[in-house]
Assembly symmetry: C2
Homo-oligomer: 306 residues x 2
C-alpha cells in the first residue's frame, strides 16, 4: 500500500493528523547531564520511548530529527534505530526529518539509507523510515533517485517548498521574472515530480513541507499542491496555532499532517502545560491529547465547509 | 588559525589544490560483496585507508561523502570516524560533504555534530571535520547557527551556489525579477553571510560550491564570490577537465580547491588509468599524481595571467 494511503488511512482511523516530533536536544532532557555519548544515547532512548508510549493513541506518526541523533555520534545512530523500532511497535509511521539532498549515486545512497528495506542483500535496514524530508535545490537529478527508491519501497518524500522559519523569505520568497515567488515555482515543480506516482488515496508519494506559520499562503499552496500530501511544521514554539491550519486540509479533511516536537515532548518545560520535572509525563500526554483535539476541530470544520 | 588560511597554506606548501573524494559505494570496491554491515564497514575502512596512503602526498584534504556511510547504518558511522582519523594522521584537512540545512536548534545540532571539538563537555568529537557542505535554501536562520559554531571552532562551510549536475539549471538557474539567475543571487547572499568572517588569508570561513562543469560561469561567480573559497566539483565522471578550472582561481592561484572522487579512488575501474583489480593501487596513485599536476599547470597559468 502506498505511503499516502497508509498515512491518510491512519489519519481517518485514529481521527488524528498529529505527528510527534522527536528532537532529542540533551539540554532539554530531565535529570543530570549525561557524561558519555553512550549514556546520552541511552537517556534519549529511555525518555522518548516513554514519550511515544504516552502519546501513541493521539498521533499517527513520529518525525525523528536526524540532526539531534547525529550530534551524539555513533551512539546517536544506535538510539535512532531503537526509537524507530519503538515507534513501529506502537503501530506508528516513521518520518525521517533529514532534509537530505544530493545528486546521482549519492542521492541513491541517501534514499537507500533511509527508505530501503535492506541495506545489503538479506540484511534488513534498521534505519528504514516510511518517509524522508528532502531539499529540492539541486533539481530533478537529485529527486529522481529518491523517487526510484521510494516507489520501489512504497515510501514517501516530503520536499521543502516553503519552510516555517521567518528567514525562509530570504531565498524562498525571491520574486521570479514570471512575477511569482520562488516557493510557488517550487510547489509546481514538486507537484510535477510526483504527478505520476499517486496511490490509492489519490495523493502522490512526493509530499511537500509548507510551514503552518504562513496561513496566508495556505490557499494558493494547497491548490498548487492539489495531490501532494503536506507536512505542516510550525505549531507551538514557532508560533503557529491550530487555527492557522484551517485552509491546508483538503475538502475531505485529509491531505495534510501536523508535526509538533517541543509542544508535546517537552510540554512540561514551557507553555500552557508547564509543570515540575516530576510531573513531566502527565504534561506530555495532556499536551498531545489537547493538541490532537484542537487540530481535529479545525480539520472537521474544513471538511464541512464545502 | 582560520580554515581558509589552513586550506590555502596547505595548497601553497604542497603545491596542490586537489582533494580526494571518498564515496564508498560498495559495488565499486574490489573483491566479493560484503555479507554484513560490519564487514562492509571494515572493507570500506581498509580500502580507503590504503587510498589515503597512496594519495596523501598529492592532495591537501579528503572530502567524505556522508550519504555512502549513512547507507551502511551504525557500522558506516564507525567507518566514517575511522577514516577521519586516518586522514588527520596523514596531515590532511577533512571536509564533510553532508549538504545539511535546517533551522535554529536543529542547525546548531548539525554544526556541533560535524564541526565541534567536543560533543559533550570533555568528550571529544570523533566526527569533527574542518569544513561542512551546507544547503542555503532555508535562509540566514539556517546559516547563522552554523556560522556561530564554525567561527568558534575555526572551521569552514561550503554553501551550495551552483551545483555541478546538469539538472542544477532547473531551480538554480530560475530567472529572478531583477533579471539575474537564482545562483547569482545565492552567490551574493553567500558572500554577504561570510563578509564579517575573513581570516588571515583574506578569505571567509563561508565558502561556496560551484561546479567545475560550468566554466562559462567562472568569471561572474569568481568576482561575485571575491573573498569566498570555492569547492569545484565535477572533474572526472561528471565531465569537467582540469582546463575548465582556469578562471576559478584568484590572481594568486588561490581561492579554490578541486575534489575528485571516482577519478582517483576508483581510477582502476574506468577512464585513462583503468586496469585489472590486482593493479588498482598503482592506478589510484598515478591518477592522483597526474590530476594534481594537470591542475597545477592550470593554477600556475592563472597565477601568471595578470
Amino acid at each position: 500500500m502506498g505511503f499516502s494511503q497508509r498515512l491518510f488511512d491512519a489519519l481517518q482511523a485514529r481521527s488524528s493528523a498529529l505527528v510527534v516530533g522527536i528532537d532529542p536536544h540533551l539540554q532539554w532532557l530531565p535529570g543530570p547531564a549525561p557524561r558519555t555519548l553512550d549514556e546520552a544515547g541511552e537517556r534519549v532512548v529511555r525518555y522518548f520511548t516513554r514519550v511515544i508510549e504516552l502519546v501513541a493513541d493521539d498521533v499517527i506518526a513520529v518525525k525523528l530529527q536526524l540532526a539531534c541523533f547525529e550530534a551524539l555520534g555513533v551512539p546517536g545512530w544506535t538510539a535512532y534505530q531503537q526509537l524507530i523500532a519503538v515507534a513501529r511497535a506502537h503501530g506508528l509511521l516513521v518520518i525521517a526529518d533529514a532534509k537530505r539532498g544530493d545528486i546521482g549515486s549519492t542521492a541513491t545512497a541517501y534514499a537507500r539509507a533511509h527508505l530501503a528495506s535492506e541495506l545489503l542483500p538479506g540484511v534488513a535496514n534498521p534505519l528504514r523510515a516510511d518517509a524522508l524530508t528532502v531539499n529540492p535545490l539541486l533539481g530533478s537529478d537529485s529527486l529522481a533517485p529518491l523517487l526510484d527508491v521510494a516507489r520501489a519501497e512504497q515510501a514517501g518524500l516530503f520536499c521543502l517548498v516553503k519552510t516555517s522559519n521567518p528567514g525562509s523569505s530570504e531565498i524562498q520568497d525571491l520574486k521570479l521574472s514570471s512575477g511569482e515567488p520562488l516557493y510557488q515555482r517550487l510547489a509546481d515543480i514538486v507537484a510535477a515530480w510526483g504527478a505520476q506516482d499517486r496511490d490509492e488515496s489519490g495523493y502522490s508519494l512526493v509530499g511537500a513541507v509548507t510551514g503552518a506559520t504562513h496561513p496566508a499562503l495556505a490557499n494558493v499552496l494547497r491548490s498548487r499542491l492539489a495531490n501532494v500530501p503536506l507536512l505542516l511544521p510550525g505549531i507551538g514554539a514557532q508560533g503557529a496555532s491550530p487555527a492557522d491550519l484551517a485552509s491546508w486540509f483538503d475538502r475531505d479533511g485529509l491531505g495534510a499532517i501536523v508535526p509538533a516536537a517541543r509542544a508535546i515532548a517537552f510540554a512540561w518545560r514551557e507553555g500552557p502545560y508547564a509543570t515540575t520535572e516530576t510531573h513531566w509525563e502527565s504534561a506530555v500526554s495532556t499536551a498531545a491529547r489537547s493538541l490532537r483535539e484542537s487540530i481535529e476541530r479545525v480539520r472537521r470544520s474544513s471538511q464541512s465547509k464545502d
